[in-house]
């Protein structure tokens, strides 16, 4: 039977390094994805995720299982991501109009658009890529706290109470935050929404 996150963390506290490796294995992918969707840069997302794991490791001596491990983990991640987004807000360079047209691969590697790609369904592929790009841009345009709320709600399957604790707000404030975020997404993705009818 798999040990719970809290049990693993208590074992790490007791000096069991293997338990930390298990926590790393369990949360590396969701954490990197959450951070990647927050900061939109793969390398930065991985750096931040490393920092999250390092902070968890450093805090092992004082760990008390007063809350869910995931709540604690994503609270650290969210704070780091929000700080990073705020720090970079005025440093990000605008995409140059001279830059080559690219298709954002979801794996984070942007590659030049190869029109002569040997794909029999290239038109369908391009439409699908454009659709994903529109969705990503709609998420990127959300204010950072709304973005964090949507990502935690949609991809981490946390309940409202946990997300509220992570974002340090009340449950009703969280629901209001999510409502406003979905309203913005509804407007931004109106062409896609209309296409579904």
């Amino acid at each position: 039977m798999a040990r719970s996150d809290v049990q693993l963390m208590l074992d790490v506290k007791a000096g069991d390094e293997q338990s930390f490796a298990l926590l790393l294995q369990r949360y590396r992918t969701p954490l990197v994805n959450f951070l990647y969707r927050m900061v939109r840069a793969r390398e930065e997302a991985e750096d931040l995720a490393q920092e999250v794991f390092l902070r968890v490791y450093r805090a092992r001596k004082d760990y008390v299982p007063s809350a869910k491990f995931t709540t604690w983990l994503f609270r650290i991640a969210t704070n780091l991501a929000l700080n990073s987004v705020r720090d970079n807000r005025y440093q990000r360079m605008e995409v140059s109009l001279d830059a080559p047209v690219t298709v954002d691969a979801e794996d984070g590697d942007e590659r030049p658009l190869d029109v002569a790609e040997k794909n029999p369904n290239i038109e369908q592929h391009l439409i699908e890529e454009a659709r994903k790009k529109m969705i990503r841009h709609a998420i990127d345009k959300l204010p950072e706290k709304q973005r964090a709320a949507v990502l935690l709600h949609k991809y981490q399957e946390l309940d409202y109470g946990d997300i509220a604790k992570i974002l340090e707000c009340s449950e009703s404030a969280l629901k209001s935050l999510l409502f406003r975020a979905y309203e913005t997404l509804r407007v931004e993705l109106a062409p896609l929404v209309a296409g579904q009818k």
């Binding site: 000096g15 793969r42 991985e46 490393q50 979801e106 794996d107 969705i135 309940d159 209001s176 993705l189």
Partner: protein, 173 residues
Amino acid sequence: MNCARMESRIIPYVDGRLKENERLEMEKHLAACGACQLRVNQFRAVSGFLDDLPEIEPSAAFDVRVRARVAAEPARQSWWASFAPSPRFALAASLLLMATVWVGSRPYETPTITAADEAQIDQNMPLLENYDVLSDFGALTELPPPVQPEDQGTGGQDQKQDQDQKQNQNQTM
């Protein structure tokens, strides 16, 4: 229920996380409100779009970097290790101990009293015995200050100067 109350319930409704009575109340409102029903449908569509974004995999170097950073962390100290003094503290304590031993090992020099000293003490003993009484003798403090002779000190000179001044004044008148 009015449309304003939808704001806090629409997301839980789309998620299927409303309580039974809240869900029934919501559906009653939706059946009568086309705008709210449209919003619910569009929120569901948005939620579906978010599902379409695939996940990324952390790079192969990710785990290696985390483990390297964890390994670089200082090792955990045992509770006994917390009593171990720092090098500076150990040096200071050693110096203090050495100084204490050195001072303690020095021979204690007792003062020697000669026969002449004892004779002098015996001679002064009556004066020493009365010293406390004399130094605290209140009647001495009530005595008037001693009067100095006129031909001594500066007082006599002042009087002579006064007499000279009077003589000078009489001559000018």
